[in-house]
């Protein structure tokens, strides 16, 4: 899994590509936690290029969100579509993790 990393005004944007399953999710979690340990407090997880997410992927997102909450920071996921959006909705994750329709809206929420 490729993870594109960019910064925008103090906000870290992670753009994973491909599938978030039990094999790739730990890599995303590792990358996100690495940045949080290094002091990142605002994180956008742009899932535009993710076309598959299983409970293992949700777990990675939840772990990062909880860590940020403890640190007083914030995580926003954005650009959910298709089956990924369906999984977030029916598992109830869309209720506890803030989401935005696109990256710009996500950055607005964090500014």
């Amino acid at each position: 899994m490729e993870i594109e990393e960019t910064q925008s005004g103090g906000v870290l944007i992670l753009r994973p590509q491909g599938r978030l399953d039990a094999v790739s999710a730990p890599r995303l979690q590792e990358s996100a936690l690495g940045h949080l340990d290094a002091g990142t407090k605002s994180l956008v997880l742009d899932l535009e290029n993710v076309d598959y997410v299983s409970s293992a992927g949700l777990r990675a997102v939840l772990v990062a969100a909880k860590r940020l909450q403890e640190m007083g920071g914030k995580l926003v996921v954005c650009s959910l579509r298709g089956i990924v959006q369906e999984v977030f909705a029916m598992s109830g994750f869309d209720q506890i993790i803030e989401s935005a329709p696109d990256q710009a809206a996500a950055l607005d929420m964090l500014s």
Partner: protein
Amino acid sequence: VPQSDDSALRYEVGDRPPHLLAAALGFQIVVLILAGIILIPIIVLKSAGASPEVTTWAIFAALLVSGLTTILQGRPLGPIGSGFPLFMGTSGAFIAVSTQAVKEGGLPLLATLVVVSSLIQFLFSARLSLLRKVITPTVGGTVIMLIAVAIFPICFRLIGSVPAHIDPSSAAGPVSAGVTFFVILGISLLSAGQLRLWGPLIGTVVGTLVASYFGLVDLARVHAAAWIGLPSAAWPGLDLSFDQRLWGLLPAFLIVTIVGAIETYGDGIAIQRVSVRSRRPVDFKAVQGAVNADGVGNLLSGLAGTLPNTTYATSISVVVLTRVAATRVAVYGGLLMMVFAFLPKISAVLQAIPDAVVGAYVLILLVLLFAQGLSMVSEGGLTYENGIVVCLSFWLGMGFQNQLVFPDHLPQWAHTLLDSGMTSGSFVAVLLTLVLAIKNRSQDRVTLQASVAAIPELQTFLARLATTVGWDKTASDRLQLAGEEALLFLIDKEEQASRTRPTPIRLSARESAGQLELEFLSGPGAENIENLVSELGEKPRATEQEAGLRVLSHFATALRHEQFHDRNYLLVVVDSRPLS
């Protein structure tokens, strides 16, 4: 099978009702099934021409073993016993074969046949998870119908039999039998609830009163019998000659034993459906326990010198009617049966019932047996294919039973084996079911290691499968999501069982009517996924534990998790169309 109403049960299986209530209910059920437990040995031994003394022994042993195994069903010992109130009693399915065995070699030959054939029941239970695909309810139901056909002549011989001092052409026999039959039939058809259960007992009592008017009832043995005591005959022992008679009869005994095990398998499932307040998936370990206890019952019956026993389906109707499913009832009932074994007066009273009345009782028994066979067949689904299996097996069985199928062309050994319609019918049924199982076998399969590392292999397998059946990417993703969550659940269970080398997980897949059925075969695990899914609340709680279950139950149109002592089957069905 009646389903349990959530609010209906007064005491569910694990509850502890007051001792007095449990004992009273236990007594009531024992009275209901006592006639079956005692009359079946009487019918067999009378038909085989055994002495009344031998009969008293068989009754004594039948009551003791039935009591003991009923207690075992209620209070399991390790893997033996279901943990449900399943009452045990003498098996009607063995009437025909047991009569033949007693005719040929008395109780000792019967005892040896019962002991030897009981062993196959343990094998059946141990391999239940595999055998259930070939020895299906369709096969079991067909064989039960053929057993009823085999008992038919015995029943009419009894109806036509009158004591020596009565003129055989007098109306005494037919009238007594007719009254018994129509009273039971009337109650069975016209009444409902509690009264229906008492039909056979009421009919037998009324029939016996009519018979006594005609002088058919001889109470001399009842007067002579002690209130408390041991049977007049001694333990008959086992026939250890292992000669031609044993080998000739063994195949039929093995078949009836397997069929008895299938019946118990069905009762073991049915009792669970009515014994709990809220719907739970079937606990197949309990079903295996029920079959094991049945096997122990047969083994002990053989060793003790009586007919094999089985679970009585009455147990299920009684739970529905009394709304008490507590196992304490079975414990008291079992104890009472064992006490009754030492009351010879009771068995003497039942032995005094005239043949004509017993014959009418058996006629109802075989009608119910036939109906039970039909119900098992319909449980297996009356598809076009099953229809062929049932009817061809039944009619070929009938043909062989009546020696209509090339009787002059068959060698003697084939006659020995096939002349019992039940044996030939089951042979045909199992063979046809095997053919169907091969036809419907899974289209593809893969063996996966029980670890996250197997996920890519699983996804490649499922993606290829989806392409083969022409599914689009969204449908393929749904399939892969359901598959991944199922595998993750099973891996978790494996890890919890802390095995050093987890058993590999075998996945087989099959397409059927726009759906893909994935069957995961894994090592034993503690938690049942159907249970966990049914416990999920309406509102998602967005926890890690819940998410996997929600994803799986969302993308699967059906989930079935069958847990056996040695393995687990998880069936996940995914539809190509999205759910609305």
